[in-house]
Symmetry: C2
């Protein structure tokens, strides 16, 4: 068995059954090994950022790692932005970066670059496998390390991949996943705070943004008067009818500060102390109100369990309240950010997964889908745009049978566009809605917020650089060019019809929803 | 004047007049400053790899740097692949990476990452500007450093960008560009080798692949019997009627070894000792024949001057021979790699710039265009695909009035597809020909070459992972979706008509040329 076959066998032996791949010459033995290890599903991406984003979406829904196959340093470079998002989402992932043969590196061939420097910036675990005898052990280590919610990167020289003599016999087995026990001191401290009668906010993240954690937090809130908020960009938020509702901390610092105003205590469960996404002249970066004390109940893993323990301590007999099922009629009239969101709320199918990279145009979605059937929302955890359409691939593969709604802003859609082709190739049940407002609207807002705009003249050249409507991007043509059936809608009723049809018909679809800029 | 305005003013004061930009919030003051510094042309890219590839193409044709504006670590990550190619091309470039405000980094906001680690992997010069008073000096240093043919990276915190008080008054001036003098010892050694009567090959790269260097090398060859070859992937090769012809060293090692066979001496002028692009089981990485001695006449800069000195030494009265003008008729019949190349040779306009990322389907182009009107060819120097369509943008902006022919393989086209949108936005005279064979053909060949394919069964799953024709990519729809008029051709005569029409009409065009795989 050669190194590549051993690697693939070890991955599938330990539950890593999908590999999102964009291979090159140095990975040809890995590709060839797919025929020897049929339990591994190879999914081709035409750009590395699609592969890494897909693995992120997969891990968020499967709660286990996928593998990613990348081609040397430049391939890793192309995948970095979505690895950054994955790192921020604390998802497990096993990235295999093919490299030149061990003896070839010293010749500084054209594709030679510093793979370790790039991988180190996003990986929680990284190793170069120099001998084929090490490959099984390294692979097991990579999977084990990834369980801590990190990207594991295995650098695989071509000659290790093609060398014979590797074996999975006698391989170290993965130990059972370690359960993160709640910290007794932190629990006691949080309970004391909650019983003090002082104003407290519980901020949820990590694994606390699913039903168990949300329910526990809701019980605590009912019993103690604490308020509950969810971090701005949760990796996976469960919500909708039958699930305790939670508001997300706002993106804009001013709004977030208003949400946190008056809190004397901030209890962190699965997240870190809230900070402004960007700095702005004369504004604070730290969003914690002056005088508010911050308490860490639990890190991103084990946060739900800690909240459950805390709830049993301070809210033993309290039952969680859940969001009622509320379905509004599909609105009519021209599409706007408001009516678009209302349509989504009106037609969202059961068990949907919403991958949200709608940015400014999606600002009303949370409200409109609050009473829709229970669903998962995956958000842009690291701010590196171009995450949504790839993540939708991974979510659909991890959760076959569940409809995926990929809400995608026009600007960020252009980063990883070829994700549509992989959606078509794999015939995934993904409905992409492009919210096309023809502008980097978020930047038009930020241009004002950072005070960069000249008060008396709006700066024609600056505005022009944020105008992506010249020329108009026709997402219908682009999607069809990649094999995804598409249509364009201008009204709420047309969007409703298009969405319903897309959800009913298997395979991917794209709907270009033309909406005005929220700046008017 | 704030930091951003100072930066832009300093750039234009020193001849950096174009900025390829994909900005975010932390770069809004840079964007706003465009209205204060009208001499700077801001060119919007919808993906960072387009911006960096465009700056590379610009530098190759303008022989001076463009600026690139990127958004934090993830933006830099997206631009890395084409920065890798630029590093290998030895082009000057000034990359400005916007970062969080200096006081914001410590909050580990979502977009925080290790910018230095990424930038260090591709930059010959790198600096973080922490004070607005430093910005002018750092900018001058960045430009000066880039002249050595490197990527200079300036990391610009947002608060330095928006801070007032910077000035360009009293700024250090750039010293005149240093001319690299030929090394007397190296010259003497090369002359001795050439006069020895032993078999010698002169391998050209760097600045020796333009008319002056090619002419000198040709004179030397005539006088001494040495053979002349050009490195496999020159940054900019001048060729065609009226220019001395040179063969490029082959991509596949076996072919390159055949070209170099019998050489007792290898004289390097502007390049390094030839190595195999990839390693292959049982094959050598070093392409220098056994027993052949390698002599370095000159590094990538100053190679043309060194060759001219050498020619005056060993071939004083010899005149260079140049390629004759040869125009064949446009062929007819179904498109193949052969007939496609013949059409290009038959219709190539005067003063064309060919950006070549045609990969396997372009294998016949060198022969077919040998007698076409003099033209420049820009090639994929670093092996990171997705370079061609962005580089065409930069070449067209650097050389207005010259037609750009962007020959693009289908697989690599998918990496930086949104370059088409920028081509449309800027109405650049670029004709893109997509050589669509529906496969990663190079990888199908490599799968055989690396011995990864099972001899008796071709590996259906492996083959499938290299098949990008499922589903078919419709480049006509994709191009039109981005505002570039497009058509599809299946015959040589249709390609001829389409190319001629595209060259005649201003603005960008795309022609999808459907060709069979060269593997049949």
């Amino acid at each position: 068995m050669n190194g590549a076959q051993t690697l693939l066998s070890t991955l599938v032996d330990h539950g890593v059954e999908v590999c999102f791949a964009n291979p090159g010459t140095s990975e040809m033995h890995f590709v060839a090994a797919l025929d020897r290890v049929p339990a591994m599903r190879g999914v081709l991406a035409l750009f590395e950022g699609v592969a890494t984003g897909a693995a992120d979406g997969y891990a968020r829904m499967a709660d286990k790692p996928a593998a990613v196959l990348l081609h040397l340093g430049p391939g890793l470079g192309n995948g970095l932005a979505n690895l950054h998002n994955a790192r921020r989402a604390h998802v497990p992932m096993v990235v295999v970066v093919g490299d030149h043969a061990t003896y070839h590196n010293r010749y500084d061939a054209p594709l030679e670059s510093d793979i370790e420097a790039l991988a180190g910036s996003v990986s929680g675990w990284m190793r170069r496998t120099d001998r084929v005898s090490e490959i099984c052990a390294h692979t097991v280590d990579a999977i084990a390390a990834s369980r801590a919610g990190v990207v594991s990167t295995l650098i695989l020289p071509a000659d290790v991949s093609w060398a014979d003599g590797a074996t999975t016999a006698g391989a170290a087995r993965l130990s059972p996943e370690r359960v993160t026990e709640p910290d007794r001191g932190a629990l006691r401290g949080a309970a004391d705070v909650l019983r003090s009668g002082e104003s407290a906010v519980i901020l949820l993240g990590g694994d606390a943004t699913r039903v168990a954690g949300l329910s526990a937090a809701d019980r605590i809130a009912q019993a103690t008067g604490a308020r509950v908020l969810c971090e701005t960009f949760p990796a996976r938020l469960q919500r909708g009818a039958g699930i305790p509702a939670v508001d997300r901390l706002a993106y804009f610092a001013e709004a977030a500060e208003a949400q946190l105003a008056g809190a004397q205590h901030l209890i962190l469960a699965g997240t870190t102390s809230p900070v402004s996404f960007f700095a702005y002249p004369g504004k604070r970066s730290d969003l914690v109100p002056a005088g508010c004390r911050v308490h860490t109940l639990a890190g991103y893993a084990g946060a739900a369990a800690a909240l459950e323990s805390l709830a049993d301590e301070v809210a033993l007999d309290v039952e969680a309240t859940v969001a009622p099922a509320v379905r509004h009629e599909t609105p009519t009239g021209p599409l706007t950010a408001v009516s678009l969101a209302a349509v989504v709320g009106a037609v969202l199918p059961e068990r949907a997964i919403i991958v949200d990279e709608s940015n400014t145009a999606g600002v009303m979605l949370a409200a409109s889908t609050a009473g829709a059937p229970a669903h998962d929302v995956l958000t842009l955890t690291g701010g590196a745009i171009g995450y949504g359409m790839p993540a939708a691939i991974g979510a659909a593969i991890a959760a076959p049978g569940r409809p995926v709604l990929s809400l995608q802003a026009d600007g960020s859609a252009m980063y990883t566009l070829s994700a549509l082709w992989t959606q078509a190739r794999e015939q995934l049940d993904i409905t992409t809605v492009i919210l096309n407002n023809g502008a980097y609207d978020i930047l038009r807002i930020e241009l004002q917020r950072v005070g960069a705009e000249n008060a008396d003249s709006p700066g024609a050249r600056a505005q022009d650089l944020l105008d992506i409507g010249r020329p108009t991007i026709d997402f219908v043509q682009i999607a069809e060019g990649m094999g995804v059936p598409a249509r364009r809608v201008h009204t709420a009723e047309a969007l409703g019809v298009a969405l319903t049809a897309a959800f009913e018909e298997p395979g991917p679809h794209l709907i270009e929803a033309v909406v005005p800029s929220i700046l008017g």
